[in-house]
């Protein structure tokens, strides 16, 4: 199998885990941190995620490099919220930043695996193939969107926009200009991709089978139960 998986995780560890515990981790961690506003609770969830990465054999430097831009964005959001909301907003800013960190780290764990395995897992979880395929296609497009954002940023500068000379307000307004072509491009690409897929016979046949089936081992079952339970337990410990 090939796919969009990373190659910095040793065989075994996170790579050998079935995709379903990882999907459960993603869903339960993000749901738990959205339901709670308690900082120690969210910090606890964050610790579980970091431990999962470390114990799972992920190269933390590579993971940090991959999410560096998002970490900077989270830090910037924290600072901006603190500036505009003052000390009252500090707690809110901390909760928001921790929640975002949880989502980013959960996604980083999700990336430690073969993309096509997630498609199989989603189909085996009875999600309609069309929907599961759309999710996987969307994941494949994420790096392309990132590259496009970088390209557009370069072309804006080549047309004379000097980001370094702008004040914070003007800089934020200029950065928001990046969203328009990225969003328009993403919508157009989604539309064109769907037409191209239909024209190549996608959904032409009533069903689709796969030679390979994923099977959950004991560890996978335990992990699938472990993550939601530990996040709920952390809630009981910290939220009183």
């Amino acid at each position: 199998m090939t796919g969009g998986a990373s190659n910095h995780v040793k065989s075994g560890g996170l790579r050998s885990i079935d995709p379903r515990p990882k999907l459960m981790l993603m869903v339960s961690a993000s749901t738990a941190c959205m339901l709670t506003g308690n900082i120690p609770h969210i910090a606890g969830i964050l610790c579980v995620l970091i431990l999962t990465l470390v114990v799972g054999g992920a190269d933390m430097l590579v993971v940090l490099g991959r999410i560096r831009a998002l970490l900077l964005l989270i830090a910037a959001l924290f600072v901006i919220q603190t500036i505009f909301a003052g000390m009252d907003g500090l707690l809110l800013a901390a909760v928001l930043s921790l929640r975002l960190l949880v989502v980013v780290l959960a996604a980083a764990i999700l990336l430690e695996g073969e993309i096509r395995d997630y498609l199989l897992a989603l189909v085996q979880m009875k999600l309609p193939y069309e929907l599961a395929f759309a999710v996987i296609v969307g994941l494949h497009f994420l790096p392309i969107l990132r590259d496009e954002a970088v390209n557009i940023y370069c072309y804006m500068q080549l047309r004379g926009k000097d980001f370094k000379k702008l004040g914070i307000a003007k800089k934020l307004r200029a950065y928001s200009g990046l969203c328009l072509p990225i969003l328009a491009g993403a919508l157009r690409r989604a539309y064109e991709t769907s037409i191209a897929m239909d024209l190549r016979g996608f959904r032409a046949m009533p069903g689709r089978t796969s030679m390979r089936r994923l099977s959950m081992r004991g560890t996978d079952v335990i992990l699938t139960i472990f993550y939601p339970v530990i996040f709920i337990a952390l809630g009981f410990i910290f939220v009183r």
Binding site: I152, C154, Y155, G160, P181
Partner: protein, 226 residues
Amino acid sequence: MALEVKNLTFSYARNPSRKRRDFSPVFAVNDFSAVFERGKITAVMGPNGCGKTTLSKLLVGILKPLRGGVFLDGENLSGRRLAEIGKQIGLVAQQPDRQLFCTSVSDEMEFGLKCLELDSAEIEARKARYLEYFDLERYAETFPFELSTGEKQRLVIAAVIAMKPAYLILDEPTSALDRGRKAALGALLRGLASDEHTGVVLFSHDESFTARYADGVIKMEEGQTG
């Protein structure tokens, strides 16, 4: 006065056509040297994947070379900000969608001109001139993403040319243009080269277009001069 490229070498981190664990460098541009003079149209031609687009990005500083450098009128461009380079070297890249970032054709034309801090009369004059030349006047208030591919390509070319850079780099500028519009673009480029002394670098597959309008041709093969 020229845009000079000396021993330019660039490699992407990994060759996507190779195996996942193969990290050996593959040079997209390898020890490439050339001189693009002002007042002349120089075409760079070569097969798909020979490094033309990479070279165009290296020329304006979007990509940083591993070795060698780009010299604008004798001055090394390394370390200069893109916004500074863009005022002297205009780039019309291959995909017009990625170079449109405003909500109307009119705003798109004004974007670069305002960044040059021109007065409003000059901005209006240049905008009107190039919108008319590229037959885009009637779309002035249109959202650029609603235009056809050819119209988007013309809009990007118009927006970059309106900035009157000393050098103009065009990557496959005729790919979405019909014969009449190719001729109009060719005539404009000739005019820019002869009247405004603009150095034009044309990356193209279009042999008839380059044969008709280019003063010189550089062949490129596997990242090197062929």
